[in-house]
């Protein structure tokens, strides 16, 4: 008898106390599965270390050039290559690339463009100085040699 009474009193509300946990679960799921960098680095990147590092205030003004030996040696050879965005380019393309990057900035900021040179430590100065020459041609004279902090021992 008492059983029937209980059934008629059944709660029709959905319990929502676990909702935050579900939200958290979703948040973590997407945190784990999202990859921040959408471009693959095609060249070796062992950034050299230095002590006198400076930080740039405005990230939107930075464009990156990656220099190093290609990871896929069979396809691209062993000579150091330059990667801009997600393709390998030659030194001759740098002026064009800088102008494209400048176009993406607002007019007032165009001359403040900073090139961050992410070069592998095995690279020789030859290719680096060629790049610097092209950057001068393209009038992108603010250059940053990307490096990580060296801990004094």
């Amino acid at each position: 008898m008492s059983k029937f009474k209980k059934k008629s009193k059944a709660d029709t509300n959905i319990p929502t106390s676990a909702l935050p946990d579900i939200i958290f679960m979703l948040l973590f799921f997407f945190m784990v599965t999202t990859v921040l960098r959408e471009q693959d680095i095609l060249v070796e990147q062992r950034i050299p270390q230095a002590t006198q590092l400076q930080k740039l205030q405005k990230k939107s003004l930075i464009s990156y050039l990656y220099i190093g030996q290609p990871k896929n040696v069979n396809l691209y050879g062993t000579e150091p290559r330059i990667q801009a965005n997600d393709v390998l380019i030659t030194t001759n393309d740098i002026v064009l690339w800088v102008n494209q990057e400048k176009d993406a900035l607002s007019e007032a900021e165009r001359d403040q463009i900073t090139i961050s040179l992410k070069a592998d430590r095995e690279v020789k100065m030859g290719p680096i100085s060629d790049i610097q020459f092209e950057l001068r041609e393209a009038d992108a004279r603010k250059l940053m040699y990307a490096s990580t902090i060296k801990v004094d021992n």
Partner: protein
Amino acid sequence: MARKKARMSQEVSTGSMADIAFLLLIFFLVTTTIASDRGILTILPPKQDPNVPPPDIKLNERNIFNILVNANNQLLVEGEFRDNTQGLSEDIKSFILNFGAPDEEAQALYNSLPATLKAQANMDPTSSDHPMSGGAVVSIKTDRGTGYETYLEVLDLVKRAYFEVYAERVGLTADEYRALSSDNAGEIELINRGKEEIPMAISIAEPEKIGGE
């Protein structure tokens, strides 16, 4: 017996869920590295017009601190062979602050320096005249075959010498000086006071065609 089973709670206990969530959050906070945009800043010289010959700048040999790095990553500092970069930063610093033959303006600059920097002025007539523009210049020249890492190490040491001078002028350490941001008027004032009249005169020469490609 049957009654007890029916009463058993069917909910999973969620009391510790928040703790698990926090643990995960802290784990990802710690392990995630955001690509940092830090590095050594330089300004390249302006483009050269091929029709205009490069400006003929007259500088006395004593005002130039020559650093040559060859394709074997060996150094020639002021004509002297070196195998490593030990003590290079100190040498550059005493070169910058030499005040061998200061003119009137440079003498005023010298008088404005704090005592610790004044003590470093050797007044050697065979070294740089003064650190103002037209005075001391540090020149780095590499071969095409020089390693980028060695070049960056040398450039880093030259920068260090200058930053230490700037920082000492405003009574900070070099690390604190470099961390000053240009967002804040007070900090901009400190930055400018540090480097006032002592330009970072680093000349990076076109590499010699040895050892590359």
